[in-house]
């Protein structure tokens, strides 16, 4: 598998991280090395193995349907970058 600068840019775009040409080139070198390491996985035949998502084979616990939270807007918005009239402000959302 060979990565290209455009792959790096595409992924950075998906991850919403600004990246310039030089950074992309530098990142490409490092990611290529890491993916060479990752590629060693392909040597093992896993065709009959089930994927493992969790360390314990436990099932989801369910919460009773009850309202347990109270309004803490003032506290939570005290750490927000920009709020007005109880709303979080962001640059215009275009739909």
């Amino acid at each position: 598998m060979t990565l290209s600068v455009s792959d790096v840019k595409r992924v950075a775009d998906l991850a919403y991280i600004e990246i310039d040409e030089d950074e992309a080139k530098e990142t490409l070198i490092q990611l290529s090395g890491i993916f060479n390491l990752i590629e060693t996985m392909q040597a093992v035949d896993t065709s009959t193995v089930e994927p493992m998502s969790h360390a314990q084979s436990v099932v989801q616990r369910l919460r009773e349907d009850a309202v347990t939270e109270t309004d803490q807007r003032e506290l939570y918005q005290s750490i927000a970058p920009q709020v007005e009239a109880g709303l979080y402000l962001v640059p215009q959302v275009i739909e």
């Binding site: 991850a15 390491l37 896993t46 193995v49 493992m52 314990q56 436990v58 616990r61 939570y76 640059p91």
Partner: protein, 482 residues
């Protein structure tokens, strides 16, 4: 006082030889004097710590004290702590004063422990040297030219340099055990699901587990008694009866079968580490244990598997950092997407971005099966290897790290070399098994060596017993760099 065990401190508090306020004041003074050199703490808040100490003294006076009441504990800056700056070592959260407490913090608060400060760490726990912290590197107390390990580097340094009697850490691929080994202290990552992840800022949810770091196995047992327990707010938290992790400390080790994976005693381990580990194993044989060779054929793949799964989960876990509701927002930006891209580019450091990109890539369309699913299948094979090995032994041992602490800057430009520091530790995160590191001597440049002890699920009490018996017989854990 600074070298005292938790048990000794607890006794002094009970016997009123010292108050929590005095104890806390002493440690705060020591931090104030030495932290500028070590950089082990990101935040110290004397006012908040002393208020807790005074409350602990009242608790003691009213006869409601537990073993940790009044004892200062350093908290890794990954645990959300109400009213405290909680940065996770990142610029992204450099202004984040948490409005709520993590489950672990609540447990320490209920036990009456004193939060002595928030410890430095690799940014979002991504690193093995503490060099990725936005707040700068931490020094290894044994050798100021060396790294303390990571990501719980501040915690390991704080305990080793006697800036705190004990500390909390978190471990996603070795972040408790590797710095414990490099700083010559003891640390344990419990079975996945025993310590609440609620309020512990997520790196890789299916691998992250909190645990204690201290001077001895005995201290770890006391800390585990407080830290573990069911938390209904964490779906992966396990509902189990409470246990006393100190219950088996005194058991003799005669008949103990120690498994030595041949894959861990192979190429890669440096000579000085090997010597120290062999001596430790000899000591165990003297204590009546026997060693058997076992095999973990897929264990060498733990690092590639880990570097698919952990970044994949991280790339998604870190999407919430967007500068909308809290955290860093870029000063100047154009439209909405630009605000996101600039805030995230500025707020995250290079290693975090690298892992987000790896994770985004392995989850992206067309690569998911080849990387993510493949890694999850290998994860199962690795877990099966351990299950097989435990048919032949009670406990597994090996080196915690392939080398002693490396120099600051030595590996920071080479991510792969850095990643290989976790070559022995990450398998326990993939399987969810408990694992710990204890100091067993010194290697090159008189830097500490850690013995890695991996147990089967829920065997923490036995592991602590195995570690404690060694520590009774030897004195490595009592050695102090200061």
């Amino acid at each position: 006082m600074f070298n005292a065990s938790l048990k000794q401190l607890s006794l002094q508090l009970t016997e009123k030889k010292i108050s929590s306020t005095e104890l806390t004041t002493e440690f705060l003074k020591r931090i104030k004097a030495l932290n500028p050199e070590y950089n082990a703490f990101i935040t110290v808040n004397e006012e908040l710590s002393l208020a807790q100490a005074q409350a602990a003294d009242k608790m003691r006076a009213s006869g409601q004290a537990g073993p940790l009441t009044g004892i200062p504990i350093a908290q890794k800056d990954i645990f959300c702590t109400k009213g405290w700056l909680t940065t996770c070592g990142s610029k992204m959260l450099s202004n984040f004063v948490s409005p709520y407490d993590a489950g672990v913090i609540e447990r320490f608060n209920q036990a009456g422990a004193v939060n002595i400060g928030k410890t430095n760490m690799d940014e979002f726990a991504m690193g093995s040297s503490n060099e990725t912290s936005f707040y700068g590197p931490v020094k290894n107390p044994w050798d100021h030219a060396a790294v303390p390990g990571g990501s719980s580097g501040g915690a390991a340094c704080a305990v080793a340099a006697r800036l705190a009697p004990a500390a909390t850490g978190t471990d996603t691929g070795g972040s408790i055990r590797q710095p414990a080994a490099l700083c010559g202290i003891s640390g344990i990552k419990p079975t996945y699901g025993l310590v609440s992840r609620y309020g512990m800022i997520a790196f890789a949810s299916s691998l992250d587990q909190g645990g204690p770091m201290a001077k001895s196995a005995e201290d770890l047992a006391l800390l585990l008694n407080v830290m573990t327990g069911f938390d209904p707010r964490d779906s992966t938290s396990l509902q189990r009866d409470a246990e006393d992790y100190a219950r088996d400390l005194q058991k003799p080790l005669a008949g103990l079968r120690i498994g030595l994976p041949k894959e861990y005693f192979a190429e890669g381990m440096s000579k000085d580490v090997e010597n120290a580990i062999e001596k430790a194993l000899d000591e165990y044989r003297k204590l009546g244990a026997q060693t058997v060779e076992v095999s973990l054929p897929n264990a060498p793949l733990a690092i590639p598997v880990y570097y698919v799964l952990a970044p994949a989960e991280a790339s998604s876990n870190l999407s919430r950092f967007d500068g909308v509701r809290y955290g860093h927002r870029a000063k100047s930006y154009g439209d909405l997407a630009d605000m996101y891209r600039k805030s995230r580019a500025e707020g995250f450091g290079a290693e975090v971005k690298r892992r987000i990109l790896i994770g985004t890539y392995v989850l992206s369309h067309g690569y998911y099966d080849a990387y993510y699913i493949k890694a999850q299948k290998l994860r199962r094979l690795i877990a099966q290897d351990f299950a097989e090995a435990y048919k032949q032994c009670d406990i597994i041992m090996g080196p915690t790290t392939p080398t002693v602490a490396f120099n600051l800057g030595e590996k920071s430009g080479d991510p792969i070399q850095m990643y290989l520091s976790d070559i022995y530790t990450s398998a326990a995160n993939l399987t969810g098994m408990p694992a710990m590191s204890i100091p067993v001597g010194f290697g090159d440049k008189n830097r500490p060596v850690g013995l890695h002890i991996i147990g089967n699920y829920f065997s923490e009490a036995q592991m602590l017993n195995v570690a404690h018996q060694y520590q009774l017989a030897t004195g490595w854990h009592l050695q102090s760099p200061v």
